[in-house]
């Protein structure tokens, strides 16, 4: 528990964390607002095919905040950039403070999870209120089950970023891959056109926890590959399996390698 508190305060004092919070709290709302504005006429006329996704689309595309969070949590241990030198790696200090590497990893993962859950709750609040502000009485009701799905999606994404960065020790690759993959030109979407196996990719599976719940979601941007493939629960389980496997691999690699290398 003490290690967890320490990780929490370490995370909150990171210089880049404001960026994660800012994006996490407001990006979903901005995307949801744009989407609502674009669809307002159709929704009011009652012909929108995507009414069930209004707002959620923001939570789907707005996960960059927690990706940054997960990546920073690890990369900050390995590299500090500043005009002053002191090229010290914090990881050395961290591991002398918390001697068990497994405890260290779990405490850090716990801190990342807690912050991303909180961040997602803030994001839900901003998104829901923006949607209501723009659509007024036409705004769809937000269901608790789907919002819980979104929270799970966010914290799993953060943990994937976290585990991935533990393997690379450098934030650039995970940040680039995960950010691009959370966009509308995601690799998973491309791969889904090539092979059905791509539906088992974590982001593609996980997003079904709260998106594509209606069976007729053919829209210009999405298209048929966005059809429902899982139930929300199985989608969540597939993503969770990825998280568990990745964290286990990260734990094994982290346990075996020298700190300084």
């Amino acid at each position: 528990m003490r290690a967890f508190n320490a990780e929490l305060s370490k995370l909150l004092s990171l210089p880049g964390i404001w960026l994660a919070f800012l994006i996490g709290a407001f990006a979903p709302a901005v995307i949801a607002a744009l989407d609502s504005i674009a669809q307002k006429d159709e929704i009011i006329a009652g012909v929108s095919t995507r009414l069930s996704e209004v707002g959620y689309i923001g939570l789907g595309f707005g996960v960059q905040g927690v990706i940054i969070l997960g990546v920073l949590a690890v990369s900050s241990e390995y590299l500090t950039e500043s005009s002053e030198s002191s090229g010290g790696q914090q990881i050395t200090t961290s591991l002398t403070v918390v001697s068990s590497r497994l405890h260290f990893l779990l405490a850090k993962a716990g801190a990342v999870t807690v912050i991303s859950i909180l961040l997602c709750i803030v994001a839900i609040m901003t998104t829901v209120s923006t949607t209501h502000l723009i659509l007024g009485e036409y705004a769809p009701a937000f269901e608790w089950s789907r919002l819980t799905g979104a929270i799970c999606y966010w914290s799993f994404t953060a943990l994937l970023a976290f585990g991935f960065t533990f393997l690379t020790k450098n934030g650039i690759l995970p940040l680039a891959v995960l950010m691009i993959n959370s966009s509308i030109v995601s690799f998973s979407v491309l791969l889904a056109k090539v092979t059905k196996l791509a539906f088992y990719l974590p982001d593609r599976a996980g997003i079904e926890m709260f998106m594509f719940t209606s069976d007729r979601s053919h829209t210009p941007i999405t298209g048929s590959i966005f059809d429902r493939f899982y139930t929300p629960l199985t989608g969540g389980l597939v993503m969770f399996a990825w998280v568990v496997v990745l964290l286990m691999v990260a734990a094994i690699v982290f346990h075996r390698r020298d700190v300084a290398s």
Binding site: A27, L79, E81, S83, I180, S182, I184, L191, I221
Partner: protein, 255 residues
């Protein structure tokens, strides 16, 4: 500023080139970009092969991966400038070459010298792969068009790299620079295009969309809003503006 002799310019350019080529991260970034681009080209080709024969051109499919490919070059640009801020290297740089505006422009020049051949090779490799896989099924473009388009693509990637380097120099930290650039190129820009089609005409003048016209295969049915030359002009303008802003800040602030 006592830099007048061309000898000094070549010396400093040599030093900046030396810095870039001895940085393993630069090579890693280029290597990964090359490999991932081929994987993506393979994916797009395989999607293309499922389509009806004769409906798509080799260039369209071979350059479909450009959207992803630019990420590698954004990273390259950021690495080139942000690497100065690791291990206090910026102090060594500025005590060796204290003429800041000159130093940063030379760095961009050195970066362009490395990027141009790399971008050309990587873009060409994707198109060649598609060509060999699909020459029986897809429309093969004329060699002139091919070369023109590849030169355009190389130009676009180089300008993107230089623009990223300027943003990197402004922000000085890899993570925020990466988030800002990837956020713009992959999230903000595509989403705005989808959600706000009404402002599409203005979006044409932004660096990524303007740059798109530099390599967009002319065979497409869409009416080209900008000619390749106009696209090049606007992209170049953006890059120059950002480099200038970066230099102004670089000269003013404490290292």
């Amino acid at each position: 500023m006592s830099v007048s002799s061309s000898r000094k310019i070549t010396q400093i350019l040599g030093a900046e080139l030396g810095k870039l080529v001895t940085l393993p991260l630069i090579w890693l970034a280029l290597m990964w970009t090359f490999i991932l681009n081929l994987v993506l080209a393979a994916a797009f080709t395989s999607v293309g092969l499922q389509g009806a024969a004769g409906t798509q051109s080799v260039l369209n499919i071979g350059l479909a991966s450009m959207g992803y490919l630019q990420a590698g070059f954004i990273i390259l640009g950021i690495l080139a400038t942000c690497s100065e801020y690791t291990g206090g290297q910026i102090r060594t740089t500025l005590t060796t070459i204290p003429w800041r505006g000159f130093q940063l422009s030379t760095k961009h020049l050195a970066l362009a010298i490395i990027t141009i051949p790399a971008a050309f090779i990587i873009a060409t490799s994707g198109v060649l792969y598609t060509f060999f896989m699909m020459r029986d099924t897809a429309v093969v473009n004329e060699i002139d068009t091919m070369i023109q388009t590849l030169v355009g693509a190389t130009g676009y990637l180089t300008l993107t790299t230089l623009l990223s380097a300027a943003i990197g120099a402004l922000l000085r930290r890899t993570t925020p620079a990466l988030v800002v650039l990837l956020g713009y190129y992959f999230i903000v820009s595509p989403l705005t295009r989808v959600f706000l089609p009404s402002i599409k005409n203005y979006l044409n003048y932004f660096p990524d969309t303007a740059g798109y016209y530099m390599y967009m295969p002319p065979s497409s049915d869409e009416i080209n809003v900008l000619t390749p030359m106009q696209g090049t002009g606007f992209s170049m303008l953006w890059t120059l503006i950002f480099i200038t802003v970066a230099i102004v800040f670089y000269r003013k602030r404490d290292a």
